[in-house]
Symmetry: D2
Subunit: 331 residues, 4 copies
């Protein structure tokens, strides 16, 4: 099939490459001309503007928008909507808030356009591993675009087959699903990222306790100097907590078990926050996912106002005057 791709960053560029590896063709656009030239050199058809991109695509057109930020995505889709024709499809493969998909699909539908939201996991590894795709939108369009999704997905691979899946959707075993109507794709991706935060924090806390087992605040007979790189490695085989995140952790610790090149300042993206919002809307307790998000918030401040207020109260009732200097980092 032929796909138009808008946005040729780390994700968009590799998606085009993976599509072309399966025999699909692509017309590409990016506001950095170099990115366009680069991919054109690999076999894609370059374009100089959204108008040019649309003009070079055969109807019914499929334009995949893969842009990093919400407002640029919104603006681009609005602009594309003005250029496309009845029956064309826009795919948003970025990290869009699912309620925006619901709204946007309705707006585009009234203009005769189709809209598909695709949550795309795989990061910098997707070109090689394939992309795990969570797709929302009209069934007929999702089925029409199946060759694209099948090409991007990782495929069955050598993973053991899940028993009991007879009669269930075979696409899930290839690494892509049609999750539901508009917004469903990004909703599932949102939860994926929410879980990701929780998993990461669970490993991080466990290793933090391991590392601080050497802390001088402990009695000497209860201290251990663990080689955390070896611990991460040993857990990769035969343990209950084997995972891809653990593999990555083992790699990072093998390089530098003190992680001394990292500041400890940790960003969060919208999905983690939207996950908590969804939990609250549904009245589902989500302690772990929320705590994982808050740990990132806290990591980005030297001290919170809340902490100063604790000190102020302690002084108020107990005359405690808190130390003015933070401790050094753990062990």
């Amino acid at each position: 099939m032929q796909v138009g791709m808008v946005g040729l960053g780390r994700m968009g560029g590799n998606i085009v490459r993976r599509l072309m590896q399966s025999g699909h063709t692509a017309v590409v656009y990016d506001h950095h001309p170099d990115a366009v030239t680069g991919l054109a050199g690999e076999g894609a058809t370059g374009s100089e503007s959204l108008e040019d991109l649309v003009a070079r695509l055969d109807a019914p057109r499929v334009v995949w928008v893969m842009l990093p930020a919400g407002d640029i995505t919104e603006a681009t889709i609005q602009q594309l909507a003005g250029l496309l024709e009845d029956g064309d499809t826009i795919i948003d493969g970025g990290n869009t808030f699912w309620q925006d998909d619901v709204r946007r699909a309705g707006e585009l539908r009234s203009r005769g356009l189709h809209y598909i939201d695709v949550g795309t996991s795989g990061g910098v590894w997707g070109l090689e591993r394939g992309y795990c795709l969570m797709i929302g939108g009209e069934t007929v369009i999702v089925e029409r675009l199946d060759p694209i999704f099948a090409a991007l997905a990782p495929g069955r691979g050598d993973l053991p087959v899940t028993p009991g899946r007879e009669g269930r959707d075979p696409r899930a075993e290839q690494g892509y699903i049609h999750a539901g109507p508009s917004g469903a794709g990004h909703f599932v991706k949102m939860i994926h990222n929410g879980i990701e935060y929780g998993l990461m924090q669970a490993y991080a806390e466990g290793f933090d306790i391991l590392r601080n087992a050497a802390s001088p605040i402990l009695p000497p007979e209860h201290r251990f100097n663990f080689d955390v790189a070896d611990v991460a490695e040993v857990w990769r085989r035969g343990s209950v907590i084997t995972s891809w995140l653990l593999d990555l952790t083992a790699t990072a610790l093998a390089e530098d078990e003190h992680l001394s090149t990292y500041s400890g300042y940790v960003e969060d993206s919208g999905e983690g926050r939207w996950t908590i919002q969804a939990a609250i809307d549904e009245a589902v307790p989500a302690e772990v996912l929320t705590a994982a998000l808050y740990a990132r918030f806290r990591s980005r401040q030297e001290h919170t106002f809340a902490e100063k207020m604790l000190s102020a109260m302690r002084k108020g009732f107990g005359g405690h005057v808190e130390a003015r200097k933070p401790e050094g980092e753990g062990a």
Copy 2:
């Protein structure tokens, strides 16, 4: 009654003063001779050593130990146990782990001595407000010492009477209780402090959100510049969240609404930790009390190893390179 007091710091000294205000007498000892001299000048009988203190007390003796740290308290009580006689009583009014009381009471009982554990709340305000006393140990001894406890407790004051207390222990309305056998006093005090952590953190988080309502990361139409000192003050009257801790908070914010003299480094004492240990032993979920403790742990580090590990994983799967510098503090 006559009481021996060992430890004349902020707490011990004022307990002696409050006892003397009610006509009780005290023989006092501290390893700082100045503290002894000072209280002697206020009417107490000074002593030069534990031996001297014991010699100056009439049998059956009552010695109140009011020392800040667990190991000194233990050593002092062991030493006293060697000096006292059958029928004498040791009171530990410090912040002792209740399981130590259980053990210690057994040891002293076998030597013919009585042991009373008293959780003492009131801090620097106790001399004026009175001390809230949570007492553990043998009933007969607790009753014999009642005049002491009654003198130290705040008394009924002008607080509204709790309806429905007819037939219940009137001591609770005076501000002291016999909570149960040995350890019960410190157990109740431990929970008091655990709750205290939770209450403090609840206020602190609320004010943090208020203060960061002016944050530039918010859309301009959704920002507020609250006067947090006025907010604390207004909540003191008629709101659901009035409390003594709020009164203290209002005072601190009236002095400096930015709390700029506080570092944000917050200590914790044993009771907060033991409370969590008790919760876990009993399989009681105690999310709020635990989160309050962890906020203090976190406040004492620049960055945790856990946070660095999050950054390492993010780099591993997404190629994210985290900023090296922490943000400034909130708004």
Copy 3:
């Protein structure tokens, strides 16, 4: 002054009563005619419809809307906006989401109307204790309505004066503040409720640990049978955790220390949820306030899907088959 009141439930009715006690007059409306008749019998002017209410008020009119649910409040305010005239003022004293205030104030402004949002704390006790008022909106209107707010607020009372407040807004010490522009009043009330959840949960967890200290899962020598009613009472005097919520707790436990008439099913209202949303928008970690909300979510389910999933995984890796029946409640 003259005030129109729409909504004569527990809150609206008592607000009218407290206003009339201070010599203000009220025109009242409720869709239950009995409520109107009742207050008319106490001196208010009854009305039969919003039109009638508006007709009976002198310009510039002040209409206080005090309704329980967000959608009825919205509809009522829209309807009132069509009846009122240039220069009139609508007060929303209910529990409105502050972003709705921001929007609504803008809409009404364009129609020549003023809008004031008032967060009102005090519950069923407000008639007697007074209402703690957190007010948002235009300064000139807030000042014009000052007699109303002053009459409703608790006043200074016999609470100790907060040192250091010289030169600060004296209204805060009377129990009301002008918190900022539209939305500010309900924002501060929202945080008040968020803190309220946290405080309540802190006490609740502490008492849960106390009560389960008698649990048979503990070794016999480490069990205590605490009288939790006495513990609540003793903490009311001289402790660090004295508060109005503790007073209420002491009353509830004095009536029935087993709280056997309560199901343990706990509702939450919008403010607790919006507080967390605000925290997330501001990137402020709010562990305790969030945990308090989630405890309520959890209380309303027999079992979560999450818990079943834990059992499923445990069976998967360890062959564990979980018990089918829940334990009885704690000790």
Copy 4:
């Protein structure tokens, strides 16, 4: 090598089998004679008592104790200690609290015996997958027993090699490590389980939010009916959150996506609790691991006393009377 095995349950029996598959020999004992007979039929040497087991082993003996509960393990080791001779070794492969290892190793050392603590992960899958082993104790003994550990461990398998491990301990890549002195093995296993709880809870919460996306409390246009079995399956390939626990989850959901055979009552074992104790001893914030533990505590109660107390306070300040019946479970 020759190993004595005490305890032929799910774990002990399979460990013997896996050892025999690699050419090692075993003398086995269990207080259920059938278990002994069974394994004898597979090639092991049966024994009728601990004395008999010891008599049948060649010096220096190696006895692996693999028993489910702490007190039986302790008693068995004490009994063995009286039967063994200078230079013999006891291995505790169960889930022992690491501080017991520290104490026990010291006691046995004074009697001329060696003690090795082995944290063993693998559950019912270990016979096939191999056991991930975390070993504590004297280096010379750990090295002497290397053939046993190497046989039990999963081996390198077809997992990608972690870059940067050149020069690091090659045993970690085989699935076993010598983690440190006595207690270190069980400490690392404890943290493994603590992390396990956190990972499980992260998945569980995410799927709970997915499932409740169909809840009737949501506006109809924001509801989704996800096929959670397909979601679990799709995440197995190419996503960031692939793991063995996810594989198990996919299997459970493929069998029954409602998990209707599970009660939702979830046990916890000592390791999860000890992990939190270690975190607190080290002053390491461990929000996620703790929240995961508390979710299990909560799952085992119909209602907590804490929840009833919340209702009591709500009634106290707001006149709220809580519903008496819990809601049904989420959507």
